[in-house]
């Protein structure tokens, strides 16, 4: 009954244990060391502040889907008043920069060279007697299909110019059957400025760079130099070690998000209709998988060259191509659509666009935050497991 004293094991056989206070102090020291290392490394400043600025400017100014004044050639084979009038409509269109000629052969070399993107041919019989007798003259629109998106816009703008011209000229002449009056409303972005959705999306790509590329590079360098093993020989646990490494990058990621948001709103004039709470919650949730991925890559590669390649291939490029930032996910073939589901930025880009342009749509945010957190937890688990294996 009174054996309680005897059952207590000898303290000497125990592994050293630490009080929570000691552990916190140790962790704090670790974070401080990592922060100093990060602040003193010039490449950190480059990735965290210079690169985001460059990319934001590129996405803000360089990447645009708003075709303005596409260069085309206009061939007027006919010189009737109607043809001249239609030609004037094309020249007045804000979408085209028109050069006029008499023969389509003048322009075909330019189309091959890519100096013009389309040729509009107004046929010789246009506006003549035949037109009035009822057979429809054919206006040809020849576009450069090698630039597929521009081609479809040139086509639809050219149709628009012809349709408007017809409406204007036939309005006084005849009354036609009333068509359906279609009212189009583009919510959230009525002026259809592509910059408004590209700039918020690019913030996701910039944060991917910091979270994945920077983390992967820095940790891989430690593996290369053997300093990671040295750290593991200390009493610090693997989880503490990884957490201590990531915390400064976490703060850095949020810092550059704030910088980019400020520039987006005040320089590019992107509306910000949601709340800061939503923006921060989403960003924090996104940094989990981004950092986890960087950590996992470095633990698996342990070599800066391979790590950087993997970070670009699995972080940056999917963030650019498979996140819905520029290319519509719905239009991709099924295998690629399924692949996008494991890309963290696919959940971040739409939510960011929503926070900026729509406002707080919490059901969407909660769903995306849940998915990103789960991905983050999974990646951390893999990275921690990978790191421990090396210790054994």
């Amino acid at each position: 009954m009174e054996h309680a004293v005897d059952t207590e094991p000898a303290p000497a056989r125990r592994l050293p244990t630490f009080t929570p206070g000691e552990r916190f102090r140790r962790f704090y020291a670790l974070v401080r060391k990592e922060t100093q290392q990060l602040v003193r490394d010039p490449s950190t400043i480059l990735i965290a502040f210079v690169l985001p600025l460059i990319l934001l400017f590129l996405f803000g100014y360089g990447v645009s889907l708003d075709a303005s004044r596409t260069r085309i050639g206009l061939v007027l084979e006919s010189s009737t008043p109607a043809a001249r009038d239609l030609g004037a409509s094309f020249r007045a269109s804000p979408y085209f920069d028109v050069r006029v000629g008499r023969d389509r052969r003048e322009f075909s070399a330019d189309l091959v060279a890519g100096t013009i993107r389309g040729i509009v041919v107004v046929p010789a019989d246009f506006g003549s007697e035949r037109l009035r007798r009822g057979s429809a003259p054919q206006i040809q629109v020849l576009v450069d299909g090698s630039e597929a998106n521009t081609a479809s816009f040139v086509q639809s703008y050219a149709r628009g110019v012809v349709a408007n011209w017809q409406l204007a000229t036939s309005a006084q002449a005849t009354r036609r059957a009333a068509p359906v009056s279609i009212e189009q409303r583009f919510w959230f972005n009525p002026e259809l400025t592509s910059r408004f959705f590209l700039v918020p999306g690019s913030i996701a790509i910039i944060m991917t760079l910091i979270g994945t590329l920077l983390t992967a590079l820095v940790v891989a360098r430690e593996w290369e130099r053997g300093t990671m093993e040295a750290m593991m020989a200390t009493p610090v646990t693997a989880v503490e070690l990884l957490a201590g490494k990531l915390l400064p990058y976490f703060v850095l990621g949020l810092g550059s998000m704030v910088m980019c948001t400020t520039i987006a709103v005040f320089l590019f004039g992107v509306p910000f209709r949601g709340s800061l709470l939503a923006l921060f919650s989403l960003s924090i949730a996104f940094l989990c998988p981004a950092l986890g991925q960087g950590l996992l890559i470095s633990a698996a590669a342990k070599n800066q060259f391979v790590a950087s390649q993997l970070a670009l291939l699995t972080g940056f490029l999917p963030g650019f191509l498979l996140s819905g930032f520029l290319f519509e996910i719905d239009s991709m073939p099924l295998p690629i659509r399924l692949l996008t589901r494991i890309v963290p930025s696919r959940y971040f880009v739409p939510s960011l666009q929503t926070v900026f342009l729509v406002g707080d749509v919490w059901p969407q945010f909660v769903r995306d935050i849940a998915v990103m957190s789960a991905m983050g937890a999974f990646l951390f688990f893999l990275a921690a497991k990978n790191t421990q294996k090396r210790l054994a």
Partner: protein, 369 residues
Amino acid sequence: MLQRILALIVKELLAVLRDPKGRLVLIVPPIVQLLVFANAATLEVRNVDIAVLDRDAGRSGHELVTRIDGSPFFRSIVHLQNLEQLREAIEMRRVIAALHISPSFSRDLAARRPADLQIILDGRRSNAAQIVAGYLGQITEGMVADLHPGASRGPAPAVVVARNWFNPSVDFKWHTVPGLVAVISLLIGLLVTALSVARERELGTFDQLMVSPLRTHEILLGKTVPPLLVGLFHTTVFVLAAVYVFGIPLRGSLIYLYGSALFYLGAIIGIGLFISALSETQQQAILGAFLFAAPAILLSGFATPIENMPDWLQTLTVINPLRWFLVIVKGIFLKALPLDEVLRNTAPLALIALVTLSTAAWLFRHRTE
């Protein structure tokens, strides 16, 4: 002397190809990139979901919905009951567009009054939304035309006939895959060369190389030829894949393509060596390579046209080798680009190669500590 250079070339090739992980990085990512990105980089709009709020009592509203359902562009139609649901469907991005058919739609159509049809589109995806609006407009017009055959009396409207030259069915892959040949060559070529000198610097072997009997231009040649061979190998693989896997027509001359590819790779390698000569460590070299590659790809006309950029930025793109080679690759694949156009776009490449390679050589000599 030739033997010396040859020995250096063999050594450089071994440095790139010996490490199994490094070898893997040279082969697997490019192929994955080509396959995934060729399918993903599309601005076409297909398979989108749209919502319908049909308040029409008559048959025309239903007829319109049936026609939309039959169109290959739309995947599914969500039927809504009220405006609140419509707002939610758009906000949650469940649909890209919502069709609101007014209660008097059939009556107005029958009476030949303007019938109201409202289309609400998601401005967050304005490029795709504009294309969807175009599809919906065409479907509606088609329905009205069938409803009132011969309604339009008076002068017959002019018919607009559109033809797509070089790419008749406007297949986006025809536009993307040749571009990817140039983009992926850039990424690999840049990284391989950017690391070559930086690695030797880090290991201290570059100083040994400098004190060897090799002259600076010989070292430069030794550092240029291996990535050139790697680059030509990749170009060949990509061209074969473009033709045999993706079925892209190759209409122009392969000789022109390889001729200009030499200058393109020369320009890339020059930039890579330039970055490499400037960096102290491999990490700086990788970052430097990225710092060049990201703007080069974004400002090349690969993803979005150069014409859409502001004028000052368009001027800046003349120093971008990818911009020139993109015209050549796409031109040779799709347009059978004639020699004078090939030369016009190759000349800037040759100039960039000349400037960057000679700067790199100068830096080799003047940046040894």
